[in-house]
């Protein structure tokens, strides 16, 4: 059983670990890094609860091995808030009641954030399309759309994002 040494940057902090090749990235995040905000909701890459940003792209961390993240930049939900302040996407979800049980929410926000980083002014259709890899059972998506629209408005009118402050794992 081969073990591999990996190093990566997680929410602004450097991390090193020895991992089995078969260790899924989502388990690395949850159990080695102890960042339990990223969730597991299925076993067929369908639900998106495990969505994180790797090297600037939103990906399903249950369908990657931790070894693939070697040398990369990983951003999880824990890295969204800065200096104790909620990021616009988090604020949007709060203001618009975009979450109920909260389980799909981290993944949903990571997908939505990826959309807004590429398309700061999405239509409702574009928002629904962008989050179509994330399943929610509680909200019926209506308020999630509103949350993303809120975040879009906030981000357009605010100062460019500072470098994220290092957040301990």
């Amino acid at each position: 059983m081969s073990k591999h040494h990996i190093q990566l940057n997680v929410n602004g902090l450097p991390v090193e670990a020895e991992v089995e090749s078969r260790l899924l990235l989502v388990h690395f995040i949850r159990e080695v890094l102890n960042l339990t905000g990223t969730h597991i909701g299925c076993d067929t890459t369908s639900c998106g609860a495990c969505t994180v940003h790797l090297n600037g792209k939103a990906v399903k961390s249950c369908t990657m091995f931790a070894v693939q993240a070697d040398g990369g930049e990983l951003r999880t939900v824990e890295g969204l808030a800065q200096n104790g302040k909620l990021s616009p996407i988090q604020e949007g979800f709060r203001e618009e009641h975009g979450l109920q049980c909260g389980f799909c929410t981290p993944g949903m926000m990571m997908s939505a954030l990826a959309l807004l980083q590429e398309n700061p002014d999405p239509t409702e259709e574009e928002i629904r399309w962008a989050i179509s890899g994330n399943l929610c059972r509680c909200t019926g998506y209506v308020n999630i759309v509103k949350a993303v629209q809120y975040a879009a408005r906030t981000m357009k009118s605010s100062v460019p994002e500072q470098q994220p402050e290092a957040v301990s794992a």
Partner: protein, 782 residues
Amino acid sequence: MSEIQGLGHSRKRVEDMRFLQGRGNYIDDIKLPGMLYLDIVRSPYAHARIKGIHTEKALAIPGVLAVITGETLKQFNVHNMPTLMSDVQMVLPIEAVKYQFQEVAGVLATDRYTAADGVAAVVVDYEPLPVVMDPRKALEPGAVRVRDDKESNHIWHWEWGDRQATDQAFAQQDVVVSQDIYIPRIHVSSIETCGCVAKWDPLEGHLTLWMTTQAPHAIRTVVALVTAHLGLSEEKIRVISPDIGGGFGGKVPVYPGYVIATAASIVTGKPVKWIEDRTENLAADSFARDYHITAELAGKKDGTLNALRFKTIADHGYTDAAANPSKFPAGLFHICTGSYDFKNAFVEVDGVYTNKPPGGIAYRCSFRVTEAVLAIERIADIMAHELGIDPADFRLKNFIRPEQFPYQSALGWEYDSGNYAAALRKAMDMIGYESLRREQAEKRARGELMGIGISSFTEIVGAGPSKTFDILGIKMFDSCEIRVHPTGKAIARFGTKSQGQGHETTYAQIIAEELGIPADHIKVEEGDTDTAPYGLGTYASRSTPTAGAAAAVASRKIREKGKKIAAHLLEASEDDLVWERDRFYVRGSPDQFKTIQDIAFAAYTNHPPGMEAGLEAVDYYDPPNLTYPFGSYICVVDIDRGTGEVKVRRFVAVDDCGVRINPMIVEGQIHGGLTMGFAPALMEEISYDENGNIHGANFQDYLLPTAVETPRWETGETVTPSPHHPIGAKGVGESATVGAPAAIVNAVVDALWHLGVRHIDIPITPPKVWHILKEKGAALEE
């Protein structure tokens, strides 16, 4: 100074701060020192004798500590457990398995990857046996017998109403319509699956169970009863329901995994975690529906309804483990007279065993109300269409009228309040009903298929009055305990357990309204049986009707004591004091007042002689009746004649849940509930082939809608308070799941009625529609 944010405020949620930052505390987030992992070996067969379980290869894997079988558990007599309906459920089998994916053995290992390897290495010899998958076949003589300990596959017969009078009415009325309606199995699929961490402390003889449970106290008592012979004792059992990622009824039952994990912890003295994966969740956890209904209505040619007669075969899987209140094996199905004034009604349900997993009450159904409403709204619509009466007019004609409340239904329910016509008219207004009918006529002339469907439902929630409701004998009250601190802030604990409904936010609003303490200063806790007062948990939309009521009553008890303190402080007589918002003042002299904060402080520093210090109260609320939320939903569909796809163009939902504590949260519940009504109507289904193989055991096969398929919901409300509830609220969590499917089915059938289509069973998939169009010569030739 904080705003009070009592009833009617769309207060932002307290829960959000931790969820948004990924700091929720769900079961799989729990990590304890020395924790072991349990994974489960499951049967590939729906019915088979177990010839042998070979564990050597598994045990040879470093890190695999034990393989637990039925024989292991039998030593402690926990290989079987009682169900809530007094049947027996296997934890692990000794002789035979009865459904595909049934638990066969547990593998205990040091980490979850090793546990998975262990499961793959266990070898089980099975002798496959014949299966019976159709409950109607299961009732035939000579059918495969599911249970070795039972004489037949017929579990029970239940009936309600006046059979004779109803049969007579059917014989006498001008018009009788009849329709078979099958509601297939579905699965609630909350994004978080089920699991637990069991921690047995051998030194203290104490068991802590973190569990995805909607009813922690009930679990504690059940565990105490089931393990009494092993020396466990209820005060040494602590059940903690932390953050739950969606429940919807699926986290009420006791699953074998919980019991195996507990047994494993007791045997090893180490904490044991069990988390099912999605396949296990879909294939083996509590399902919902699976009702074969024959619905009949009788009435006059002018559309006046008179009598209702429903007969149902209920497929319960291999054991009756439905989480019903004990006197109601078919739940509250007899709400099926719905929103209409029936003079006569009779229903009967027969429960049947098949080779499927057990359950029945786990998909936002209010104890079979989803089934009842789909049936009545479908058959009512069929009758309207057959008589050529507009479905809205048909309903308006037959609705129970506002002056008839409280209304005694022909099946024995006393509906507390309602104004059905107002809700329907509002929905019709919002959607532009008349112009839609005109558009439909134009489109129909051009061969385009457009349908409008209505569902006017009456829900029944808030189980329930102690006279008739109990779970395993425990009455279905619920509770609230409030303690006000010297600085005028408060903590409140409840016997319910939110899984996303926002109780930390809304319960505080109830108390804020009653006591004037700002909601932001009221901490709400649920879910820890060591601290929370006893309650029956959250499901079937019962929290607001029971625990919400308890919150109001407990608050009023505090206000009672507060009045005495205020009188003491103001040197006035209690009779001269008036309460307003957050203070008592002397009648006629509003500048002579004491706020709740003043009173709280005095409760600890300056209370009247002879009075106990402190300012707290607990209430165990026994609801005098259930509550009856209601609504009218209207759905517009367009059907693609080339592909059979049904597109929901618009969906308007007008709901009435009485007084709305937090409109934002109510609306959120409706959005989610509508989606859980829409998806079963068009895409969700768990099915089995004739060998018992399940289809729908993963999210590739079991289709949950994404944001792309889900319509944009339009909501409205009417407010008809409940006369018996302390704050007039009714509960709303499941209304939309209950009401929505019928609106969609009615819309599709409405679009196709002129082609000779009367009914389509859900899910109404594109191939189903296409075949109908082909059959009727209405498919499009492009």
